[in-house]
Structures are given as structure tokens and as C-alpha cells.
């Protein structure tokens, strides 16, 4: 183990993660408004402009946004060092990521090429800077944990996803001057599938799995995940992701199975936790695990059985919409749930630690610091959870019966406005108390 460079001086300035956390819900809120204006035709297939906009607003605008902000905070704790020049990197990447995501969403909807150029430029640059900064930390062998391996694999997946995404976008450009004919790049559905599967099961899920190995035993005083699972799970996910490129037909079920195993061990570890106090984050984890199991059940349920029934109603519809339903359950039921649950812990905790560190020189100012429940109450956290449960159910409803889109969109807006409100409340209280501390140390 290399000990030079180990600092522990942990925390990057708080406004950096705050920036990511505050902008993330806004993308989903705009997404909700977009859903309202688009109408029910959005839900017809995976390939509508609307669906592309929706998935990217969620994955780039919300999921990746929060994960990138959270990594700033997690790396020092898990790896012992943070990224270099955090303010420069986070500020630049955050801005470029926001502009890039907005332009990409516009590019899907507007026929002009300029949005596309802008999206390609901004997203390439922001991911490049961010990934390089992460790699500089992750190549160091500082930590003993198994999580670091999962982090590395997740970042590797992110690289693949970004490269494929750029490749897919470039189909819309004329690259003949560079010696690339449109035909060579005219990827089929398979490349889009690889892009999606690596994004969801690689970048998203690998990071969540790696983080869960660390934080679940910690925050909930639960037993560790079985060593065999900790050591092998992330590698198996990676193995099946690579196999998926060449043999999608048999790699896909394996990816589902490995996630079912993760879900079972997650539930079992949570069930054996010692800390029994009611905690909304736990319910989010359980909800996510159940979503994974449900996706497995739907994936492995033989389609022919659904078609056996005579009445052409819901069962036929289910078989027909299987792909969309699975994507919805995994993205919204699994990834988004875990991220919301984590935000509920990270937001007040970050605020608290930063405030407390400012008091190290002036202990009398400690009296101003709110405890974690004063940033937002347990009740407010569970309201967010119930909103999320309801919108998850409505999402499935809308895929099966498109005319429900209105209810789903409205609820989505309410849910993420509420998340935004809770985040903003935390941030405002932070700055208010921070001012008090400054005043007290001057006085």
C-alpha cells in the first residue's frame, strides 16, 4: 500500500456537490413538463424522439448528475484522497454537463445540427475531464476495500457508454471528409443496446453495488455482504457486460440473474441489520431490491404463457411492451430509488460535517449547528418515498395504458419538486448557519 499522498483531508468544498444535487431534480421536472406537452404517443416504443429525450433526461440529467456529485464526496472516504483541483474540475464539468445535456435533449427534438455539435462538444469535454480526474485517484492503490474495484469497473463502463453514445450521435453527421463513410458508422440496434445496457448495468448499477457493499453495513449496522459476493459480483457483472457485446442472447439473462443475486443478498443483509430505527433510506434500498426481483420475474416469465389467454387485454399488452417495462422498472424503480435514498442521507450529513469543521477553532459556535433531522424531518423524507412509490406504479400504468400519461407527468413533477424543495431547504439552512458561525467567530 502506498501511503504518500494519503491525506484524509477529505471534504471538497460543499458548494460543489450541492451544485450537482440541486440541478439534478430540475432535469426531471422539465422532463415532466415535456411529457405533458408531448402527449400519449411518446409511449408507443423505445424509439420515439420523446422516449429518447425522456431516458436521457433521467440518465444524464438526474442519475449521472447525482452520481458525479456524490463521487466527489465518496472518493476521499473510500480511497483516502479526493480529486485534484476539485473546484476547477467540478465547476467546469458541471457547467459543461448541464449545457451538454440540455443541447442533447434539444438535438433529439430540433432538426438543426447546431444543438448536436454543441452536445457532442460539451459532453465529450465534460466526461473527458471528469474521467481523467477520477482515474488519477483510482489508479492509486490506497484502499483495502472491495469497493474500489467496483468504482474502477463503473468508470470503465462510463467510458464505453460515452464513446458509444458519441458514435451513435455521429451517425447524424457527415464524416466523409475524415475518411469515415456513413455506412461504417451506421450502427444497428445492437450498438444502441450495448450503449443502454452498459449505461444501466455498468455505470449505474456497478457503482451502486460497490457503494452498497460499503454503506449498508456502515450506516445501518448490518452484517457485511458475504465475502464471496463482495469479491466476485462486480467482476461477474463486467464479464457479462463484455459477453453481451458478442453474445447478447445468452449474456442478458445472466445479467438479470446476477442482479437477482444482488437483490437477495441486499434484502438479507438489511433484514439482519441491528439498527432498527425507522429510516427512509432503508425503505428505498428495499424498494430497489424488490424492483430488481420484479424485473427478473417479468424477464423470465415465458411470453407464450401471456399470449395463451384469449382476451387480448392486459396480458398481450404486457408481452408487447416487455422491453419498455423492464427499462422503466430498472431505471426508475432501482437506480432512481437508490439515488433518492442516498441523497436523503448525504445532503444533511454533508451540511452537518462542513458546519462542524468550521467550528473546530471556535467550539462555542457548535450551538448553532442543526442536527441531521433539522435539515428536513423524517416525515418529509417519508413523504418523498410515498411520492416515489406512487409515481413508480403510475409509470407502469402509463406504459400499459398510454392515456394515463397525464397523471404520471403531474406526479413526476410533484415528486421532483419536493426533492428539489428538500435539497434547497438543506442548502439554505446550511448557508444561514454558516453565516451565524462567521459572525460569532468575528464577534
Amino acid at each position: 500500500m502506498n501511503i504518500s499522498g494519503l491525506s484524509f483531508n477529505a471534504l471538497p468544498p460543499i458548494d460543489l456537490p450541492f451544485r450537482y444535487f440541486l440541478t439534478a431534480p430540475l432535469f426531471v421536472i422539465f422532463c415532466g413538463i415535456y411529457l405533458l406537452s408531448y402527449g400519449d404517443s411518446l409511449w408507443l416504443s423505445r424509439w420515439t424522439t420523446g422516449m429518447l429525450t425522456l431516458t436521457h433526461a433521467f440518465t444524464l440529467g438526474f442519475i449521472s448528475m447525482v452520481m458525479m456529485g456524490a463521487l466527489l464526496q465518496l472518493l476521499p472516504v473510500i480511497g483516502g484522497v479526493g480529486i485534484k483541483k476539485p473546484r476547477f474540475i467540478a465547476t467546469t464539468c458541471h457547467m459543461l454537463h448541464c449545457v451538454g445535456t440540455c443541447s442533447l435533449l434539444l438535438a433529439f427534438n430540433a432538426p438543426t445540427l447546431w444543438w448536436l455539435y454543441l452536445a457532442i462538444f460539451c459532453l465529450t469535454l465534460s466526461f473527458l475531464i471528469y474521467i481523467v480526474a477520477l482515474i488519477q485517484v483510482l489508479i492509486k492503490k490506497l484502499s483495502q476495500g472491495d469497493s474500489v474495484i467496483g468504482f474502477r469497473l463503473a468508470v470503465f463502463s462510463l467510458m464505453v457508454v460515452v464513446l458509444l453514445g458519441l458514435g451513435l450521435l455521429s451517425r447524424n453527421l457527415d464524416l466523409t471528409p475524415f475518411g469515415l463513410s456513413k455506412l461504417t458508422l451506421l450502427a444497428d440496434k445492437h450498438f444502441t443496446n450495448i450503449h443502454a445496457v452498459w449505461g444501466i448495468a455498468g455505470w449505474g448499477s456497478l457503482l451502486i453495488i460497490a457503494v452498497s457493499f460499503q454503506v449498508i453495513p456502515m450506516f445501518h449496522v448490518a452484517p457485511s455482504f458475504p465475502t464471496r459476493i463482495k469479491k466476485t459480483m462486480t467482476w461477474f457483472v463486467m464479464l457479462f457486460l463484455i459477453s453481451y457485446i458478442f453474445f447478447p442472447v445468452w449474456a442478458m439473462p445472466l445479467l438479470f440473474v446476477v442482479h437477482a443475486i444482488f437483490a437477495f443478498s441486499l434484502l438479507s443483509v438489511l433484514a439482519r441489520r441491528k439498527r432498527r430505527i425507522i429510516d427512509t433510506t432503508i425503505r428505498y434500498w428495499q424498494f430497489a431490491a424488490i424492483a430488481l426481483l420484479l424485473s427478473n420475474a417479468i424477464y423470465f416469465f415465458p411470453e407464450s404463457w401471456l399470449m395463451l389467454t384469449n382476451d387480448a387485454s392486459i396480458f398481450h399488452n404486457l408481452a408487447h411492451k416487455k422491453e419498455l417495462i423492464l427499462a422503466a422498472i430498472i431505471i426508475f424503480g432501482y437506480l432512481v430509488s437508490v439515488i433518492q435514498g442516498m441523497l436523503l442521507k448525504i445532503l444533511p450529513f454533508l451540511s452537518y460535517t462542513h458546519l462542524q469543521q468550521r467550528c473546530l477553532m471556535d467550539f462555542s459556535a457548535m450551538q448553532y449547528i442543526p442536527n441531521m433531522h433539522e435539515f428536513f424531518t423524517k416525515r418529509q423524507a417519508s413523504i418523498l418515498f410515498y411520492l416515489h412509490c406512487t409515481s413508480s406504479v403510475l409509470l407502469l400504468a402509463v406504459i400499459l395504458e398510454n392515456q394515463f400519461y397525464y397523471f404520471f407527468a403531474v406526479l413526476l413533477i410533484i415528486e421532483f419538486l419536493y426533492l428539489f424543495f428538500l435539497s434547497l431547504k438543506t442548502v439554505l439552512l446550511y448557508f444561514q448557519v454558516s453565516n451565524k458561525i462567521s459572525l460569532s467567530s468575528k464577534g
Binding site: 491525506s7 449496522v221 439498527r275 462542524q356 442536527n371
Partner: protein, 143 residues
Amino acid sequence: MTSIPQYMTSKHRECDDYFTEAESAVAKENWSEATGKWQQFSDELALHLTQEEETLFPQFEQATGMTAGPTQVMRMEHQQMRALVQDLDNALNNKAKDEYLGLSETLMVMMQQHNMKEEMMLYPMMEQHLVNGEQLISSFEQS
């Protein structure tokens, strides 16, 4: 013979156990149980922090020459934890349930983040750099 990481990690777990039991008791407003468990927790924690600050950290600093680095950050975090323990003491004496649960949530997250840095980095490094690690631990075991 027990190694530094083994012993110190097991003490973290022991503290966690008392801590959780105290917290559950407060949630049920079982104040006498809560006070007992809390006392056990704060005694264990105080002993553990002292063992680190007075024995392990100085030895590590001597062996590696790193005086301003990780151990300094750990010492500061200990101060933060002690301040929270003080607040929790007051909340418990006043039987202020909500106040206690809010603070205990805070201490929990802070303590776990601290322990993780020790368990994953600092203790393994100590084992690597301190030749008398097992002797130190057996002196802890006897105290």
C-alpha cells in the same frame, strides 16, 4: 495473538452494538435501558479514542515520520465526535427524544465514515509499519 486491524475493528463493532441498543431504547422511550447502554457506549468509545491518540497514533507518527497527515485529521474528527457525545449526553439527561435521535443519526454517520477510513487505510498501514503491533494490542487487552 490479535493484530491491530482485527482488534481495533472489533472494538468499532462493539461500540456500534451498544450505540444501536441505546438508540432503539430511546426510540421506545425506555430511558433506564437507554442510559445503561449509552453509558457502556460512551465508556467504550472514550477508551478506544484514547488508545488511538495516546498509543497508536504517536507510534505510527514515529515510525513513518508523518505527523501532519492522516493522524492529525483523525484527531480532529475525534474532537468532533466527542462534542457530539456531549450533546447526546445532554439530550439523554433531558429525555429529549427527537433531539437525541437527530443527534444520534449525525454521530452514527460521522463515526462510520471515520471508522471506515481507519479500517480500510490507517489500521492496515499501522500493521505494516509497527513492529510491536501485537504487543500493543495485548497491552490493550489487559487494560
